[in-house]
Each structure stands twice: as structure tokens, then as C-alpha cells.
């Protein structure tokens, strides 16, 4: 069961991710990114992190991606004109492939628990909103506050950069 879900979702995730990078139409890119995020949320569920899955869908796929789509529509971005295919790009792609096929399994094997199998229902960690919330507001409270400031900065930034010049 775990295998089936994992491989399906992984394939979906990778295919949509590659589409994000490979396809030239920005709208397609954005939609594929949404699908990537959703696949990832599903993978979170396979890892029994249900709350994070929800956050992923709501915040990421819901909010952030809408932002992207808005901008795409706002700017009326056309299909990207292909740049010159330089040796740099070919080498880059080759390198990525090589690393992905050879390097990654090796790399991953160095971590502890790397070989531990996934069995649903045996999670040692609570993934509920309550548990996380507790942690978030106690141990990581200061950081939570900081993220508040961070969002404030982002808000100010968006306002500053995208405002209409009424005074000028």
C-alpha cells in the first residue's frame, strides 16, 4: 500500500515538477506548480503529517499560487521565447541528470534511519494541529512572532512596490 501510493505520488510530483521547468507557457507552469504542491501535500499525508498537508494545500496551492496566476494575468506574460541553447545549459541538464541518477541514492544513504521502512500507523510523532500549535506558541513562540514581522515587511513591500503613484 505504502509502496503504491509513494510511487504514484512521486511520479506525479516529478512529472509536474519537470513540467514546471520545461514547459514554456507560464500558465501551464503555474498550473503544474499547483499540481506539484498538491502531490507534495499528498506525500505529506503518506508521512502522516496531516496538518502540514492541509497547510500546504491552503497556503501554498491556495494562496501563493493564486498570487502567481494573478501576476501572470496582470502582466499578460506571453509564451516564453526560447533563449539560445548554450553549452552551459546542456552541461547543466546533463549534470542534473547524472546527479539525480547516481549521486542522490548514494547521498541519501548516508543519513541515519535512511533504511527504515515506512509503515502507516506507526508514526512516533503527532502531526495534529493541536500538537503543532502547542509547539509553535511555546518553544518556537519568538520565531512565530518574528514571522509576523516578516509578513509585515512583505506586506509593506508589496504596497510600496505596487502602489499607484497618486502623489507624483
Amino acid at each position: 500500500m505504502e509502496q503504491l501510493f509513494f510511487w504514484m505520488l512521486a511520479a506525479g510530483l516529478l512529472i509536474s515538477a519537470i513540467t514546471v521547468v520545461a514547459v514554456r507557457n507560464p500558465v501551464t507552469n503555474a498550473v503544474c506548480l499547483v499540481s506539484t504542491l498538491v502531490f507534495e501535500a499528498a506525500l505529506f499525508i503518506t508521512l502522516e503529517a496531516t496538518f502540514m498537508a492541509a497547510v500546504q494545500v491552503i497556503v501554498y496551492a491556495g494562496a501563493v499560487m493564486v498570487l502567481f496566476l494573478f501576476v501572470i494575468m496582470l502582466l499578460d506574460v506571453r509564451v516564453e521565447v526560447l533563449g539560445k541553447i548554450s553549452w552551459l545549459k546542456i552541461v547543466g541538464v546533463g549534470l542534473v541528470l547524472l546527479l539525480a541518477l547516481v549521486g542522490l541514492p548514494k547521498l541519501s544513504s548516508v543519513f541515519p534511519f535512511a533504511g527504515e521502512a515506512l509503515h502507516w500507523g506507526h508514526a512516533k510523532v503527532p502531526g495534529t494541529a493541536q500538537d503543532l500549535g502547542h509547539l509553535l506558541f511555546s518553544a518556537y513562540g519568538p520565531l512565530f512572532l518574528t514571522t509576523g514581522v516578516l509578513l509585515l515587511v512583505a506586506t509593506v513591500g508589496v504596497v510600496v512596490l505596487c502602489r499607484r503613484d497618486t502623489e507624483a
Binding site: 548516508v110 543519513f111 541515519p112 520565531l143 518574528t146 515587511v153 509593506v156 513591500g157 512596490l161 502623489e167
Partner: protein, 486 residues
């Protein structure tokens, strides 16, 4: 209660306050906003100095720490903020004039982030604080949205910063995978007495990558010259001094006391850091030679300085750490005045081309003298403070037996003189005074430049204060080596 009145909190409050004041008061009061910001920054500086070393709220203890290092560098960052506020007040925003309050307020948030960074003891805290700094900086760099250069610099910083963030987060993930924690002391305890695992090393490598980006070390430096040039000059100052220092503070903390302060980790990272340092010094120095733009020149010079500090840091000893602390302060005193002057230059001439310095010595004797001292200090000529700290770098390298690094550093210090003398030459040798349009600097700025220049000289002859700073930053380290079981 006073524990909650830590600089970070007050900085955020001040920033929010500035924005609120701006939006709630009549438009005619707006010209008061710059003095207000400057006053607030100055007040905060005194507060930070007064409260340095004071304990932090209990609930913050597992994420943040108040030790020598943080108590030395929080004032450092707030001092930068003061300078940046002053410079921002004199920066011409043009069409952006209506959002000057935001321009003034955002560095407060950024500084808050830096202060948090200085005392972070958990990589998650590092991440969040770093992002607070970065995101404010993306915005500030791109703030001058009608200037293409500003926007270009902003997007470049954002792309590169995003990349670096990606590496940092991945590093944190791998840290969890390797050790199950991101807290410095626990990481240290976790690994102490055990052979180091490749997993931890890889995770550390990713983290170091993103910090190396922060300090603009080769090969993660490429953003620096472009961004320094395009950004509004006050922000350039912030990037060049405060943000770079933050990177070093973190590197010092993780390699000096927390997280990776282990010999087993050190043996792997020492050659890496030193190689990076050599590359950084070399590239920064050589690439600076042909520069004609003062901001780019400073960017490359900053890269070179990062290289020297990295070399000292790379020896991973107590002496190296102390050297970096002293070096950062020396760098502050040498670089900030120059940037303050560049700010004025941009105000008067529109850009930072080297030729605007021509004949400065005839027009502004005091300012020229101050600037000359600063440039010479950067070049590392005795008896300026820049020499003392370079001497410390060389000493550290010799003591650590790193001869190739020492040789390269020495050579580059000589070549570096080649471009540090260029502005001096422009100020003193080149065209006669009457060939240059006379635009006077405000006299208080002349005094500031002169005073800081002379401070360079004084600290060069009498570096005791710097030594004291370095020693203080090293001495009471709660995450001491003993704790790690060695």
C-alpha cells in the same frame, strides 16, 4: 520585564511606530520623519550599549542566547542602523518620496533580524531571522522602483537569496536527518565523542553555503557587486557592513562554540574555509583593480575583506575568532565613512563614478583626509587600524602554519594597494580645483568623516579597545568547549 525590552523588540516597535506615525500624522509633518528615525536609531544604540549582555526572556532561551559575541555585535548592527538612518535621511528618493517612512522603517526590521541572528542558537531561529533580514533587504534594494538599476539589483538579490535560502532549508532538513536537532548545543553534544557522520558534514556544508553567500565569499559572491551598485547607497552600506558581519557572527558561532565546533568537523571544514578564503581574497582584489565605480570598488574590496576574515576564521582557533571580531569592527570604521561619502556623492552627481573624487582634497580638505585614512585602513597600511587587524590575520595564519594562505594574503594585500590608492590619487593628484564644480558637503558630515578617519588612526596606534572587544566576545561563552565534552 526589562528582559522583554531587548533591542530586537524595540527595533520592531520603532519600525512599526515610524510607519504608524507617518500614516497617522498630517502630511506636512513628514519632514520630521527622518530626524525621528535617526533619533530613534541613536536612542536604540545607547539602549543597546547599555543593555548589552543583559539576559533575555526565559521563554527565548532555547532559541537565543546572550553571550559575549551577541553583546558585541548587537551594538555593531545598531550602529550600522544609525549610519543607515542618517544616510537614508539624506538619500534622494525622487518619486518615492511619499514612502520615505517605509524606507526609514524597514532597516529597523532588518536590524532586528540581525540582532536575532547574532544571538541565535538554533538553526531554525537562524533561518527565520535570516529571512527577516533578507526579505527586508530585497525590498530595500529594489526600493527605488523607478530606477532600473535598483530593481535589477533587487531581483538579482532575490533570485540569489532564494537559492541560498533553498540550500539553507535543505541543510536544516538534513541536519534533522543527521542529528535530529538544530539546536547548537545539542548538535554539539550529539556528536561529541563520536566519529563524525558524513550526513552531518553534508548538512553543515549546505548551511555554510548559505552563510558564505551572506558574506559574499567566492564562489557565492557574484551578486555582491551588482547589488551594491544598484541598491540605494544607504542599503549598500547596510549590505556591505551589517549583513556581512551577521554572516561572520554566525560562522564564528557555529564553528567557534556551537554546532560544528568539533575537531572532527573542523578537520574537514578547515581546508574548505581556507581555500574559499584564498579564492575570495584573490578574486576580490584582482577584480577590484579595473573598477571605476566607487560602489563596485567597495563591493570587491568587501569581498576581499571577507576573504581575509575567512582566512582567519578558517584556522578555526580562538585567535582566528578574535581576529574576525576585531576585523569586523575595523572594517566598519573604514567602510562606513566611505559609504556615507558615496551617499553624498550620489546626491550631488547622480552616480558613484571615481572621477567625482577628482580634486576633492582641494575642495574638502577634512573630508578628503578622513576618506584617505579610511581607504588606507582598508588597504591595511600601518599605523591604521586596518593594518592591526591584517597583522592579526597574518599572525593567525602563521601560527596555524597555513603558509600558502599567508603568501596569497600577503601578495593580495600589496596588489590591493593598487586600487585603494586610486581614489586617493583622484582626490589628491588629479585635476585642479577650479576644474570641478564645487558642491559643498554639510560641515557636520565633514566632521564625521574626519573623526572616523582619525579614529582609524587612533585605533591603529592604540588597538587596545579592539583587543578588548575581541577578548570580550570570546571570553564568556556559555556554549563553551567544556560543555561539548572535550
Amino acid at each position: 520585564m526589562t528582559a522583554w525590552l531587548s533591542p530586537e523588540v524595540l527595533l520592531v516597535l520603532a519600525g512599526v511606530g515610524l510607519i504608524l506615525v507617518d500614516s497617522l500624522t498630517p502630511r506636512s509633518w513628514r519632514r520630521l520623519i527622518s530626524p525621528l528615525a535617526f533619533g530613534l536609531a541613536l536612542g536604540l544604540l545607547f539602549w543597546t550599549l547599555w543593555s548589552s549582555g543583559q539576559s533575555i526572556p526565559d521563554s527565548w532561551r532555547n532559541l537565543f542566547v546572550s553571550d559575549g559575541l551577541s553583546s558585541i555585535f548587537k551594538p555593531f548592527f545598531v550602529l550600522c542602523l544609525v549610519a543607515v538612518s542618517g544616510m537614508s535621511a539624506r538619500y534622494r528618493l525622487g518619486t518615492e518620496e511619499s514612502v520615505r517612512a517605509e524606507f526609514l522603517a524597514l532597516p529597523f526590521f532588518s536590524t532586528a533580524g540581525l540582532c536575532l541572528l547574532a544571538s541565535a542558537r538554533d538553526f531554525l531561529a537562524v533561518f527565520v531571522a535570516l529571512e527577516l533580514v533578507s526579505i527586508s533587504l530585497y525590498l530595500l534594494v529594489a526600493f527605488h522602483r523607478t530606477k532600473q538599476a535598483s530593481l535589477e539589483a533587487g531581483i538579482k538579490l532575490l533570485v540569489m537569496g532564494g537559492l541560498s535560502t533553498g540550500f539553507l532549508v535543505m541543510g536544516i532538513a538534513w541536519l534533522y536527518a543527521a542529528a535530529g536537532t538544530t539546536e547548537f548545543t545539542r548538535l554539539l553534544l550529539e556528536q561529541a565523542g563520536r566519529p563524525v557522520t558524513p550526513a552531518l558534514l553534508l548538512a553543515a556544508g549546505l548551511v555554510v553555503t548559505s552563510l558564505a553567500f551572506k558574506i559574499a565569499a567566492v564562489p557565492f559572491h557574484a551578486w555582491a557587486p551588482d547589488v551594491y551598485e544598484g541598491a540605494p547607497t544607504p542599503i549598500t552600506a547596510f549590505l556591505a557592513v551589517a549583513s556581512k558581519a551577521a554572516g561572520f557572527v554566525l560562522l564564528m558561532r557555529i564553528f567557534g562554540w556551537g554546532a560544528f565546533a568539533l575537531d572532527s568537523v573542523g578537520t574537514v571544514f578547515r581546508p574548505i574555509l581556507l581555500t574559499m578564503g584564498i579564492a575570495t581574497v584573490t578574486l576580490g582584489t584582482l577584480a577590484a583593480l579595473p573598477q571605476r565605480n566607487l560602489k563596485r570598488l567597495l563591493a570587491y574590496s568587501g569581498i576581499a575583506h571577507a576573504g581575509y576574515m575567512l582566512l582567519a576564521l578558517g584556522t578555526l582557533g580562538e585567535a582566528g575568532m578574535g581576529t574576525v571580531v576585531a576585523y569586523l569592527w575595523a572594517y566598519l570604521f573604514a567602510t562606513l565613512p566611505v559609504l556615507i561619502f558615496i551617499n553624498e556623492m550620489e546626491r550631488n552627481h547622480g552616480n558613484a563614478d571615481l572621477r567625482h573624487l577628482d580634486g576633492l582634497a582641494r575642495r574638502e580638505k577634512g573630508a578628503a583626509l578622513g576618506l584617505m585614512l579610511c581607504f588606507l585602513s582598508m588597504a591595511g597600511l600601518p599605523p591604521l587600524v586596518g593594518f592591526s587587524v591584517k597583522l592579526a590575520v597574518f599572525t593567525t595564519l602563521w601560527n596555524a602554519g597555513e603558509m600558502p594562505a599567508l603568501v596569497v594574503a600577503g601578495f593580495m594585500a600589496v596588489i590591493g594597494l593598487g586600487f585603494y590608492l586610486a581614489p586617493i590619487r583622484a582626490m589628491y593628484w588629479e585635476r585642479e580645483a577650479d576644474a570641478i564644480p564645487a558642491t559643498r558637503l554639510p560641515s557636520f558630515l565633514v566632521w564625521v568623516l574626519l573623526a572616523v578617519g582619525l579614529l582609524n588612526l587612533f585605533l591603529g596606534f592604540y588597538p587596545k579597545p579592539l583587543v578588548a572587544l575581541a577578548e570580550r566576545s570570546l571570553a564568556p561563552a556559555p556554549l563553551s568547549r567544556q560543555e561539548s565534552g572535550r
